[in-house]
Amino acid sequence: MAEITAFAPAIAVLPFVSFLVALFAGKYLPKKGALAGILAMGGSLVLSLLMLYTVATGHAHQSTLYTWVGGEAVPYELTFGILLDQLSTLMLVIVSLISFLVHVFSLGYMNDEDEGGLPRYYAELGLFSASMLGFVFADNLLMAFMFFELVGLCSYLLIGFWFREAGPPSAAKKAFLVTRFGDYFFLVGVVAVFATFGTAAFGGPGVEESFPHLAELALDGEASVNTFGFAPRTWFTIVGLLVLGGVMGKSAQFPFHTWLPDAMEGPTPVSALIHAATMVAAGVYLVARMYGFYALSPTALAVIAFVGGFTALFAATMGVVKREIKQVLAYSTISQYGYIMLALGGGGYVAGVFHLTTHAVFKALLFLGAGSVIIAMHHNENMWDMGGLKEEMPVTYYAFLSGSLALAGIVPFSGFWSKDEVLFETLIHGLGDSPLLLGAYAMGLLAVFFTGFYTFRMVLLTFHGEPRSDTARDPHGVRWKVKGPLAVLGALAAVAGVINLAPVAELTGAHIDFLHSWLFHGPEGLNGEHYEELLEGVAGYHAAYPLGETLTMLASAAVSLGLALAGAGLAVALYRGPEPVEHTDKLGALKTVLFNNYYQDEYQVWLAEGLTARVARAADTVDVSIVDGVVNFVSSLSLFTGDRLRRVQTGIVSNYAALLTLGLTLLLVAFGVMQGWFL
C-alpha cells in the first residue's frame, strides 16, 4: 500500500486547482466557482483528517518533494518538502475546516447577495487556502517564507476585493505594506538562518540536520556554526527576533497591528478566514513551528511574551469603545493573538497551540455570526443601529452567544480552558525564575476583564434590547448556507475545550488532557517534551507553585474567571435594558484617545508620509539630477561611441584587410615585446 502521506501535497494542491478552475472557468460554472472551492476544501479537510489519523497512529512524516537549488556545487539545498507532525496536521485540520465552512458561508454571503466578480472571489479564496495549507506543512523556513508571502498577497487581494470603492483598496494596501514591513525582517532572518546553519529545515523524522537542532548543538559546543562574530546565544536571539518581525506583522502584534482593523473592509467571510485560520494565524503558527529555536533564547521568549501581553491588553482597551461590530471583533482578534504570543513566550507551548485552536473556532464563529447579522442588517455594521435581533434570528444568536462566551473566557466554553491555561503557564514560569514574565502576565490578566466587557457589550448591543432602527425591526432573513456553518461552529466553540481539560485532569487524575499528550508525542526534536527540556535547560524556565500545584491552578483559574465575569457583569450593568445608552462620554479625554486607537495610525502615517515620503523625495531629487544625469550621460556616451565604432566599418574591403592586418600586427608586436620573442 502506498503511504497515505504521499497524498499530503494534495491538501494544498486541491484548493490550488479550485483557484485555477474558478479563475478560468468560474464564469461558466453554476455557482461561479463556489462549488469547486467547496469540493476542494472538503477534499482537503478529509485528507487533513486522514493525515491527522496517520500521525496519530505513529507515522509522523517528512519528505522532500523538489530540490530546486542543490547539487555539489552549492553548499546548501533549497527544497520544497512536507512535514507532517502533530502540530502541522492539527493546524491543517483547523485551516481546512474553517476554510471549508467559510466557502459554504460565502454561498450565502456572496452568491445570495448577488455580488459581482464571484469567480475572482472564489479563485482568490482558493489560492488563499492553498497558500496557507502549503505554509502549514512546509518543512523548511524558506518554503514557509514563500507561502507566507503568498498568504500576504492573497489577503491583499481579498481585502481589496471591492476595489471600486474607496476604503478597501487603501485598507488592502495598508495590510500589505505593514505586513511587508515585518516581512523584511523575516527575509533577513531566513537568509541569516541559511548563512548560519546552511539549512532551514524545521526537522522531523529522518531529517538529520535541522536548524533548531544545530542551534542547540552549537550552544552545547557540539557543533560549530557561523555566528558572524557574535556569541552563539546572542546571534540566535538576533536571528529569532528577525524572524519574529514577520510574525508580528502577520499576527498583528503591537506595533504592527494597525492593518488588521482596517482589513475589515474586505468581505466578512474573508475576515473570518483571515482572523481565524489563515493570515493572522500564520504568524503565531510559525513561532510554534520553530519553537525549538526560540526555546533556546530566553531574551527572544521574553520579547514574545511581553509583546503578546501588551498587545492583548492594548487591543482589548481599544475594543471597548468601538461602534461597529466587526471593529470590536478585529480588536478582539489582535488581543487574542496577543494571548497566544504570551503563551508561547511564557513557556506554554501547549497552551499557545490550544488557544490557537479554540480561537480559530470561536473567532470564525463570531465573524460568520457577524456576517449573518450584517446580511440581516443590509450591510449596516453599526451596533447602535441594531438591538433586539435575538428574536429575529435565534440560530445566529445562540451560536454567537456561544462564541462570545468562549471569547470572554466563561467556564465551560472552550475559550475559558485555553485562556486559563495560557495565563496559568505564564504565571508559574513567572513565579519560577523569570520574574519578567509576571509583568506580561499582569497585562494579560487585566485584558481578561476588558475582553469580558467588550464581548458582552457587543452581544447586548446587537441582540438584546429594543430594535434601534427600521432594518433591525425587519431584518433580512438568512438561509441554511449561513446557519449551517454557524451551527457547526457554535457547537464546536462550546465544546472544543474538551481536547485539553488540563485543570479537570489535574483534579480528577484522569488523562483527559489530550492535546497535551498529543503534542508531547511528536517526532523527536519537535515535541512538547523536548521543548520543555529546552526551556528548563537552556532558557532557564522553571515552574513554581507557591500554593501547591492544584491550588495554584485553581486560584489562577478563579482569578481569570472572576475578572472575565466582572467585565461581563459591568457590560451587562451598563448596557442592559431595552434602550441602552452610550457611556463612552464618561471616559472623558480617554475616549478620544481610545477612539483614535492611541493615535497609532497617526504616527505610522506620519512615519510613512512625513518621514519616509520626505526621504523618498530627497532621494528622488538625487536620483533625477545626479543618478539620471550619470545614466543619461553614460547612455549618450555609449551611443556616441557606438556611432564612432560603426564608422570603422567603411564598407571598403581593402580597409578591412588593412585593419585586420593592423590588428594582428598589433597583437604580434605586443606579445612579442611582452614575451621577449625579439630578445
Binding site: 551611443l639 594582428l664 604580434l668
Partner: protein, 492 residues
Amino acid sequence: MITPEWAAAAPTLVLGVTALVLFAFDSIDPESSNNPVLAGIAVVGSLAAMGVSVAYLVAGVGDPAVELYGGQLVVDGMALFFQVIFTSVTALVALASYDYLEDMRHQAEYYILLLLAATGMSLMAAAGSLAVGFVALELASLPSYGLVAFLKQNRGSAEAGLKYFLIGALSSAVFAYGISLVYAVSGSLLIDAVAGSVRNAGQPGVLGVGVLMVLGGFAFKTASVPFHFWAPEAYEGAPAPISAFLSSASKAAGFALAFRVMTVAFPIEGVVGAVDWVLAVQVLAVVTMTLGNFAAATQENVKRMLAYSSVGHAGYVLIGLAALTGTGDGGLVLGAGMIHLLVYGFMNTGAFLFIALAEYWGVGRTFADYNGLARRAPLACVAMTVFMFSLAGLPVGGGFVSKYYLFAGAVNAGVWWLALVGAVNSALSLFYYSRVVKAMWIEEPAEGVDVSSYPSTLYAAVITAAVVTVVLLPALGLFSGFAFDAAAAVLF
C-alpha cells in the same frame, strides 16, 4: 565505444551523404522544380544526422573519445555536442529555406552548398589534427561564400559574398601560415603530438607567432575582433536563412575547433612562456563584445543590428577560452561556452529566420518598418520577442542560464572583470534588443505593409526555434551535464 569504429563519424557521414544524394537528384533531373523534395532531403538528412549525434551523445559514444585514422578524427563528447548544434541549425535553416527560396532558381545548389558547409562544420568539431581542421574549415567556408552571394541579382548579396570571400581568403592564408609555423616548431600536425612538443619549445617566437595566427583563423570563423569585419556585411547582405546559418552554426564551428586546438594543442601551462594566449583571448573577448554591442546599439537596420550583436555574442563565448586561467574550474567555463553556443544556435537562428519572414513579406529592414508588426503576425512576433529577450539574457529563454554560467565561470576563474564587462554589455544589449520588441508591439503600424500569406515551413522553423529556446531555460539542466563533462574531458 562503438563498433565499427568509423561509425562514430556517422553524423558527418550522414551530412556528406545527404549532400551527395542532392547532387545525384539534381543530376538526374537538373531542370526540376520539385523543390519540396530538395528541401525534404536536406531537412531529413540533417535531422537524421542530429538524431545520430544526439543518440551518440546520450549513449556516451564519445566517452572515452573514439580516435579514428590515427587520431586525425576525434569523436568525443564535445564533438558530438557541437554536431548537435550544427545539425539542428541546419535542419531549421533548410526547413525555413523552402519558403524563402520560393520561385528562385538553383535551389538544388543552395541545399547542396548548405549540406556541404554543414559537413565541414561537423568535421571541424571532430578534427584531431590541424590538417583536418584546416581542410574542414575550408570545406565549411567555401560553400558559405557561395551561399552568401546566392542572390546573384542582388547587389548587396554579391557585395557581401565578395567581402566575406576576400576576408576569408586572407584569414585562411593567415591560418595556414600559422599552422605552418606551429608545424615548424613541433614537427607534427596531430594536436596531441603538438601538445607534447610545444612544451618548452626551442623557438618561442616562431611558436608564438604561429599560435596567434592560428588564433586569427579562429577569430575569422567566429567573427571576433579583429577578423570580424566581414560579419556585419555578410550577415546583412546574405539571404536571411544563410545569415542565420553563418551566425549560429558557422560561429559554433569556429569555436568547436578553437576550443579543441587551443586547449589540447597549446595547453596554457605548457606554452605560457612562449605565448600567453589566454591573455590574448581575454583582450579579444573584451574588445569583441564591446565593439559588437556598441556598434549594434546605433544600428537602424534590424538585420545589421543582429549581425553586430552576433559579433558581441562571439565575445561572450570567448570568455569560455579567456577564463581558462588555470584557477577555478576550467570545465565549467568551457562547458558554459558550449552551452551558450547551443542556446545561441536556436535563439539567434530564430531571430534571423524571423528576419527571413519579414523579407518574405516585403517588410522593410529598419526598426521603423517593424512597427506594429505584432498586430499582423502576433505568433511570429511572440517568437521574436522570446528571441530578443533571450539574447539579451532575460530569463524567458535559455540565454539567461547560459550567460549566467559563463559569467559565473569567469568569476570562478578569477577574471571577474571579464564577467563585469560582459554584464555591462548585456545591459546595453537589452537596449537595442528591446527596440525591436517595442517597434513590434507598441508602435503604431506603418501604412502599406501587407502580411498576406503565412509561409508554413518558415513559420514552423521560427516557432520551433522559439519553443526550443524557451524549453531550454528549464531543460538546460539536462544538457549542461553533457557539456560540462565533455569540456572537462577535453581539458584533462
